[in-house]
């Protein structure tokens, strides 16, 4: 217990203090870490800038009849007030406004399925929906599946038990498609599972593992 390093609030190991001018390996590592941290931060700033540019071009000043930007969204059963641009996709709102980064952006063109969420129980590509178009509907993301006590959804648990994912990037989307299927068809055949997951690409090619997981979830549910 005592030999484990403690982690500070930033999730970083405490930096050793150096008094002299000599450069140690630890110091180089530390500065490299700061550098990488800086790059990540500026990367975030760039994409944030993109959002702002999108905001200022053409949408400054509400035209008469145009949409109100403040909307109330029901996400994972919680109502949240968000400032949403007219040209903002649901994936953008979820990831960059609500910090629900479980929803992934792969192609951003409705061609991969990584961004799949449920809108009123129906699986949909969140990269290809305007948030304003679905603001009165119930949105469910992968973060909303587990029970309040932390028990995983049967599909999530089955994904672990069957070693469903490989790299895991497409997994949230696969899970959302599977949950949408099991909600309307609790006992699907293998072909029905394959059809339901056909709108979700997996570049690792773990399709059979995913199919096995969903069938196991159906058994366990």
């Amino acid at each position: 217990m005592s030999d484990k390093p403690t982690i500070d609030n930033n999730g970083m190991y405490p930096q050793p203090k150096y008094d002299g001018a000599e450069t140690s390996v630890a110091q180089i590592r530390a500065s490299r870490r700061q550098f990488i941290k800086g790059v990540i931060a500026s990367g975030a700033a760039v994409s944030g800038g993109g959002v702002l540019i999108g905001c200022s071009s053409g949408s400054d000043g509400a035209a008469i009849g145009g949409v109100e930007r403040m909307v109330r969204l029901t996400v994972n059963g919680v109502e949240r007030t968000v400032d949403v641009l007219p040209n903002e996709t649901l994936a953008m709102t979820l990831r960059y406004k609500l910090n629900l980064t479980g929803t992934k952006l792969g192609c951003d063109r409705g061609e991969c399925g990584a961004c799949t969420v449920m809108v009123d129980g129906v699986s949909s590509y969140s990269c290809s929906l305007l948030t304003h178009s679905i603001r009165d509907k119930a949105i469910m993301t992968v973060e909303g599946l587990e029970a309040p006590d932390g028990t995983l959804h049967p599909v999530q648990q089955a994904m672990i038990d069957e070693l469903g994912p490989q790299c895991g990037f497409c997994t949230p989307g696969q899970i959302m498609s599977a949950v949408a299927l099991l909600n309307v068809n609790p006992n699907p055949t293998r072909d029905e599972v394959r059809a339901a997951l056909s709108g979700n690409l997996c570049r690792c090619g773990a399709y059979d593992n995913y199919t096995n997981s969903v069938l196991r979830a159906a058994q366990n549910a």
Partner: protein, 330 residues
């Protein structure tokens, strides 16, 4: 691949069809009618099309749903999703051709959001045009697909006129085969256009795929009772079973009496800029026996006059076989 915002636009969400038409009429060329958005957002994200006014139709519940017409036909609201069409009991019972076609579109998630109106009105998939080059269809003065190096595997066999792109819709050939009527509303009122005349080629207007002009809205599709419960055949051949657009598709409706083909309508997708009605085949097989010999003649008849480009010769035997199968297996 950019993951930033699409370019800005003014978004309107009218709650009545009249309101939507007012907005679209006022906006004219700068307006864009948005339904499911699967086609629209590609254009917006790639900055190839930048409308100033986007009219989101999703609140127009009056344009959703399937209802029976007094004559026994059905009317389908333009905003009805492809999944709803695929699963609708009345459509499956009377016009399974359309349910089959809708079920072949793209992927489950796209069918869940994508609408019938959007699928019928979507723009062509020619990748030169989609990439935003200054081709004829985009108002320029050349065709990149119809050039010695042009990659035209997906392009047309008929109807080339400067542009050689094809109609990508899966439901469009089904609508032509079912002799559907497109209901179009604008500020002057409502009109009905037969499916066959709704789609237009580059010879009529190279910058549009349909007769819709700014201020026009496709509000519904009416399918007459004539073909209810007929024998149907739909097949789509694409490189992938999901997402992909047809290389060739075939939609046929026929009334069989004994073993005789009493009446038939047939249309092929992705072989011309419009769903191509195969009238020569219809004429050749009407009154004939529904057998392998007639099917073979039908296939040969279907491809007469096809003019392929460098990389799409394969579409000729493909269409021929699909027509043959349609007659034989329907």
């Amino acid at each position: 691949m950019s993951k930033d915002m699409m370019a800005g636009f003014e978004l309107y969400q009218p709650d009545s069809v009249d309101g939507a038409i007012d907005l679209l009429s006022d906006a004219g060329q700068d307006g864009w009618a948005l339904a499911g958005g699967n086609d629209s957002f590609d254009w917006f994200k790639d900055r190839v099309k930048r409308p100033e006014t986007v009219v989101d139709l999703t609140a127009l519940d009056e344009l959703r749903g399937v209802q029976e017409l007094p004559d026994g036909g059905i009317e389908i609201g333009a905003l009805t999703t492809l999944t709803e069409i695929q699963n609708n009991a009345m459509i499956r019972d009377r016009y399974s051709l359309l349910a089959d076609a809708a079920g072949k579109v793209a992927s489950p998630q796209i069918r869940n959001v994508g609408t019938l109106g959007g699928n019928l009105c979507q723009d062509t998939r020619c990748w030169y045009y989609r990439y935003g080059v200054d081709c004829y269809r985009a108002g320029g003065d050349s065709c990149y697909a119809d050039s010695p190096q042009g990659q035209n595997r997906e392009h047309c066999l008929w109807g080339a006129d400067r542009c050689i792109a094809v109609s990508p819709s899966d439901t469009a050939p089904a609508m032509v085969a079912l002799d559907a009527r497109m209901v179009i509303r604008n500020a002057d009122g409502e009109r009905e256009v037969p499916a066959e005349e709704f789609f237009i080629g580059p010879d009529i207007d190279i910058e549009r795929m349909t007769v819709l002009e700014p201020g026009d809205l496709l509000t519904a599709v009416r399918i007459p009772a004539d073909w209810a419960g007929a024998r149907f055949y739909f097949e789509k051949v694409a490189d992938r079973n999901t997402w992909d657009f047809a290389l060739v598709s075939i939609a046929a409706a026929m009334i069989i009496n004994g073993n005789n083909i009493e009446r038939i309508r047939m249309a092929a997708g992705a072989v011309a800029c419009v769903p191509r009605r195969l009238e020569a085949v219809e004429n050749a097989v009407t009154g004939q026996a529904k057998d392998a010999a007639v099917a073979s003649v039908a296939g040969q008849t279907a491809v007469r006059g096809a003019t392929p480009f460098n990389f799409n010769h394969f579409k000729i035997p493909l269409l021929q076989n699909l027509v043959m199968r349609a007659i034989r297996d329907a």
